[in-house]
């Protein structure tokens, strides 16, 4: 069964009414119960839960220690290309911006790989913009062919693919998929995705399950926080992750909590998410899904990221750049065009030192090509 009927089961207005009616008692029950259900998860996302944030954090911390230990896995993104045929209101790579796209040659990919691998990282996330024409699956496959020699795990964050295409990339050496629905609310999705193939809501929503069926080892999902009422968006992200865990028990499912960052455009978020609320989201995820991975990118600032670690984080990016060739290549002319601004600019060595200082073991390799 697809996730779509699970999504459709919930009516927007009912969710709002429920969120408003949640009592502190219900939140307490949800936090303390061994196996919180869907409604309990929603209760932990309600305004009433904010007063219980310390208790939620303590519980999330203990669950994380038991399930994952004092260990954080590190990775870094590598932007292969930034051509995009979609017009997404919130994105720096949007097709409205008048600019020439950039795409790495295989030699340039190798140069970036050499640099990243010199930092010790073995897990890589490769990204392209939303253009099949400029960065087709065959191109991604060629890049993976080059990168395999340098990294023990390669994940992709590209436009939504067909099951057959996921299978093709898996046999080429890809083992992980990151794909954000961006926004689960159908109406808002349609509004912010102004034009392009990404407008197809269901094709994107079902991308993680197509990848799961194709045998993808790790699947990371998320909603871009700021496009719609975050409580509902996080709720659907959690339901989606729970669905994927159930449907693909052999896969490792993880979630991200990306807050909308300032980008090259002029988009204004529909809602803001405070730091307390990010903590609430993270701990609610952990309590609802004790085995889910939680990824924290460099969208968040250094100090905040450090403070969030004990609350349930299992994976962090380090030494990030969101520009094509951003590690080793000179900007073509003028400054780089970035997808969004990085808030934590520390390199891999600094992040590793910080983790050790905090009593966490940075894990640079947690898979291999078998």
């Amino acid at each position: 069964m697809s996730f779509i009927p699970i999504y459709d089961k919930y009516d927007n207005t009912d969710l709002e009414a429920f969120l408003d009616s949640v009592s502190v008692k219900h939140v307490e029950r949800a936090v303390r119960s061994g196996r919180p259900g869907e409604k309990d998860f929603l209760a932990m996302l309600s305004p009433a839960a904010e007063g219980l944030i310390e208790e939620m954090a303590q519980r999330a911390h203990r669950l994380t220690l038991k399930n994952f230990g004092r260990v954080i896995q590190l990775y870094t993104p590598m932007y292969l290309a930034d051509h995009c045929e979609n017009d997404c209101a919130y994105c720096g790579f949007s097709s409205r911006g008048v600019r020439a796209g950039r795409k790495l040659t295989l030699e340039e990919v190798e140069k970036e790989a050499e640099f990243i691998s010199s930092t010790g990282l073995k897990h890589l996330l490769i990204l392209t913009g939303g253009s099949r024409k400029a960065s087709p699956v065959s191109y991604i496959k060629e890049c993976v062919g080059v990168l395999k020699a340098y990294f023990s795990s390669i994940s992709i964050e590209v436009y939504a693919l067909s099951g057959e295409e996921y299978r093709e990339l898996i046999s080429a050496g890809v083992d992980g998929l990151t794909i954000y629905q961006e926004v689960y609310d159908r109406g808002v999705y349609d509004k912010v995705h102004v034009s392009g193939v990404k407008k197809n809501y269901e094709f994107r929503l079902e991308a993680p399950e197509r990848a799961g069926r194709a045998g993808m080892r790790t699947i990371n999902i998320g909603a871009l926080l700021g496009l719609n009422d975050w409580r509902k968006e996080v709720f659907f992200t959690g339901l989606h992750a729970a669905y994927l865990q159930k449907e693909f028990p052999a896969a490792e499912i993880s979630v991200s909590v990306p807050r909308l960052r300032p980008c090259s455009g002029d988009f204004l978020p529909a809602c803001t998410v405070s730091e307390v609320e990010v903590a609430q989201i993270l701990t609610a995820f952990r309590i609802f899904l004790p085995r889910v991975g939680i990824t924290l990118s460099t969208r968040e600032g250094a100090r905040f990221r450090e403070n969030l670690i004990p609350l349930g984080v299992t994976r962090m990016s380090a030494g990030s750049t969101t520009a094509v060739g951003g590690h080793t290549l000179k900007a073509p002319d003028g400054p780089y065009i970035t997808q969004f601004d990085i808030a934590d600019r520390r390199d891999v060595a600094e992040i590793r030192a910080m983790l050790k200082e905090k009593g966490y073991q940075p894990v640079l390799k947690d898979w291999m090509d078998i």
Binding site: L65, G69, K246, R291, G359, L364, K365, D366, I370
Partner: protein
């Protein structure tokens, strides 16, 4: 009295096995091994980074210890076999803990695929220790397939819930000639002692140490508990009864 555990031709004085996955720093592994005297240590090959210029987990394992790489991450027999072969090729010896898990939510092992793995690896000369659900029929088959010991779970990995599978593990101890090593779920030294009192050959712990405030002291506590439990088993415990036993027997007159 010498009471050594023999596995795959190796004689072990310590019946505490240690996992390395969740520690705050890699160097803690050495301290834990030193203080506890543990002689068998399992390492996930997926985490071993031979190219790393930084510290390598293997550098923290004393010479006297037996390295038992595990196949963590394997979802089926084919992947587990490949990981085991990679481990041996990487110079990690020929002991292998088979871990085939196709369930990331509960981390429960797949006995069917595990059995297939044991059959193949035992045939290739590995000393194979399968992590398994405590199922008697599966355990018999692992034995027939050439396993060197069996490692049933006490509770799901990382739960620290203790010997929840006690009834089933007792049956394995009774019926299986191989050493029975409880792996996973043991949260406290008293639970490790419980396993040993039942006649288990050894106990493997990781989370209980790594998640404690002082993993090194906790390792020593486990080591003592395992010894105490073993000694109690060898001494032969009196049977447990629910009601108090009358101190003046009622049938004494018959023998009078």
């Amino acid at each position: 009295m010498s009471d050594l555990l023999n596995i795959g031709g190796k004689e072990l004085a310590s019946r505490l096995f240690v996992g390395t996955g969740k520690f705050a720093r890699k160097s803690l592994v050495r301290e834990v091994l030193e203080r506890s005297g543990a002689e068998v240590v399992t390492v996930a090959l997926r985490r071993v980074d031979a190219d790393s210029e930084d510290e390598n987990i293997l550098d923290h394992i004393p010479e006297r210890c037996i390295l038992m790489p595990n196949t963590s991450g394997a979802r089926n027999a084919e992947e587990a076999v490949r990981i085991a072969r990679l481990a041996r090729a990487a110079g990690c010896g020929s002991w292998i803990k088979v871990e085939v898990i196709a369930d990331n939510k509960y981390l429960l092992p797949d006995n069917t695929e595990t059995l297939k793995t044991v059959e193949i690896l035992a045939g290739e000369g590995f000393t194979v220790l399968p992590y398994m659900n405590p199922d008697l029929t599966a355990a018999r088959r692992m034995q027939d397939a050439g396993a060197a010991a069996i490692m049933p779970l006490g509770a799901p990995i990382g739960t620290n819930r203790g010997l929840r599978t006690r009834e089933l593990v007792e049956i394995l101890v009774e019926e299986i000639a191989l050493p029975v090593i409880v792996d996973a779920g043991i949260g406290s030294p008293s639970e490790a002692a419980e396993c040993m009192e039942l006649g288990c050959a050894a106990v493997l712990v990781n989370t209980a140490l790594a998640a404690s405030e002082d993993p090194v002291s906790m390792a020593e506590a486990f080591s003592l508990a395992v010894k105490a439990g073993r000694l109690a088993y060898l001494a032969g415990k009196g049977p447990k009864t629910k009601e108090a036993e009358a101190s003046s027997p009622l049938t004494g007159f018959l023998r009078g």
